[in-house]
Amino acid sequence: MTCAELQKVLPYIIDGNGTEEEQAHLATCQVCSDLVADLRYIAECAKLLVPMEDPSPRVWDGIEKSLDREGLTKARRTF
């Protein structure tokens, strides 16, 4: 298998293991194995991205105004 042939199936093997032939190429080709390692690493890092930021308070203010305007809410409770 050549690098060009591997390249054609790359989208399929990043999230899987690939065939024996593809694995054999990766075992002997540093360029392709580095590429696969990088793409898998990027996907792994992306999974770890957690929501970090809260929206500005004006977002809720806008929602509240619209809710009142549309009559979607009833009177507020007291705790």
Binding site: V31, D38, I42, A46, L48, M52, E53, I63, L72, R77
Partner: protein
């Protein structure tokens, strides 16, 4: 104490808050917003890459939530349902703006420029260990919109290709192809950013 915390501190579960919100309880609306605002806003921000637009879309997503909450039957988790609703709000917005999401002419055939580069050189160029949250977020922001959306939906948010294809109205192969191109582009952007940092240190 925020409304969300107050409601939960009073022993009310999210499930009960949803039931009361269906009856128009204002505090429960606010509590649900408090519980889910960060995740919805982050999704919008990552998909559109712009704070002002992300805020507008967050507002629209929650308004739609409140308009439709009576139709929530609990077949899926509330957060899953809300999240899907938010994705649809963003996609609808992008369609209105006429931004390309996924070109339907795309095939799975990778373009030549996306292939392995032979001039990569030493193993120092492998990304392993070099990505942190900030530079990955920045690189995602720099992606072309079509790539960014697929990447965020699949790799960050964990949607499957069949779900993405359904939401975006494209084929599963198309979604896979775009994801691959997005990752390739990110690899270039992350390497460039690392090279720039290294040059600045010299």
């Amino acid at each position: 104490m925020t409304i969300a915390k107050k409601i939960l501190a009073n022993g009310m579960s999210e499930h009960e808050a949803i039931d009361l919100a269906k009856q128009g309880d204002a505090e429960c609306f606010e509590a649900l917003y408090g519980l889910h605002k960060r995740r919805v806003y982050s999704l919008c921000l990552r998909m559109v890459g712009n704070t002002a637009e992300a805020e507008d879309l967050t507002q629209e997503a929650f308004l739609q939530l409140y308009r439709k909450i009576s139709t929530f039957r609990g077949e899926s988790a509330f957060s899953t349902w809300l999240h899907r609703l938010a994705v649809n709000v963003v996609l609808m917005h992008l369609r209105k703006k006429g931004l390309p999401e996924v070109s339907l002419e795309e095939t799975l055939e990778p373009q030549q420029e996306d292939g392995p580069k032979k001039d990569i050189g030493t193993r120092d160029n492998v990304l392993a260990g070099s990505i942190d949250r900030v530079n990955l977020e920045r690189a995602i922001e720099s992606l072309p919109p079509g790539y960014r959306i697929i990447f965020v939906l699949h790799d960050v948010e964990g949607y499957e290709h069949n779900e993405i294809a359904e939401m975006m109205g494209c084929s599963i192969g198309n979604s896979k192809s775009q994801l691959h191109k997005a990752r390739m582009k990110l690899r270039d952007l992350l390497k460039l950013s690392r090279a720039e940092k290294a040059a600045a240190r010299r």
